[in-house]
């Protein structure tokens, strides 16, 4: 097993994904996971009803596969798993899950960090927060752009 990438329409449990990932790998000593969860409030403190994530045909999955392939080329990881929700996501549900495995903890950390930076800015999704007063499209922030520029 090397890179495994999925777009999921349904709620998923990151701890189950971590368990399955760890079960699939060999005897790598280092396993890192990242879970990104939908927040409950906008930056201005309005309660959020849902985050809506739009994907586009095969292009979304292909963009994730390219990012995962780049992570494997760049870091000494032996396995990775990337899961991204699409559709309507309620507060606290997982939006994205990344797991990496390596004999070396630095490689596992850096690859997970890199995967997230790339996913934030390059995975083909569009997202909109629905709140009581309407909805707002969310684009990558300046911090997201400077994070990805580090690599």
């Amino acid at each position: 097993m090397t890179a495994f990438v999925e777009v999921k329409q349904e709620v998923f449990d990151p701890s189950v994904c971590l368990s399955q990932f760890t079960g699939r790998i060999g005897d790598e000593g280092a396993v890192v996971s990242f879970t990104g969860r939908a927040r409950g409030q906008t930056k201005d403190g309005l309660p959020i009803n849902a985050l809506v994530l739009e994907s586009y045909r095969g292009v979304t999955l292909a963009s994730m596969q390219q990012i995962a392939a780049d992570a494997h080329a760049k870091f000494a990881i032996t396995a990775s798993h990337v899961i991204h929700r699409a559709g309507r996501i309620k507060p606290l549900e997982a939006i994205v899950f990344v797991a990496t495995a390596s004999p070396h903890r630095r490689a596992a950390f850096e690859a997970a960090d890199y995967l997230m930076d790339r996913l934030k800015t390059e995975a083909v999704f569009w997202k909109r927060e629905e709140h009581a007063n309407g909805s707002a499209w969310i684009e990558p922030t300046d911090a997201d752009r400077s994070d990805v520029a580090r690599w």
Binding site: E54, R57, V96, E122, A123, W137
Partner: protein, 85 residues
């Protein structure tokens, strides 16, 4: 003979006219930059955002440069800046 091309509008591009618009294109097709102009003139609420330089065209599930040619029968879409995670 001209044919109608369906152009899918992703993300915030769908706010004004819904998830797709149509355009007539000639058998010789047209480059992406002319597609932008044609969409802007037929659907003027999209003009400011298409002029902003941050919209990319996707043809048959591949993101293409501004000089790529879109032909009749292609699956075309316009992508605003993406954001995952």
């Amino acid at each position: 003979m001209n044919q109608s091309l369906n152009v899918e509008l992703c993300g915030k591009l769908a706010d004004s006219y819904g998830g797709s618009v149509t355009l007539d294109i000639s058998p010789s097709g047209l480059p992406v930059r002319e597609l932008f102009e044609a969409v802007s003139s037929a659907y003027p609420l999209l003009a400011p955002i298409l002029a902003g330089g941050r919209i990319r065209a996707c043809v048959n599930e591949t993101i293409v440069p501004d000089d790529a040619i879109i032909r009749q029968g292609d699956t075309a879409a316009l992508f605003p800046p993406v954001s995952g995670g």
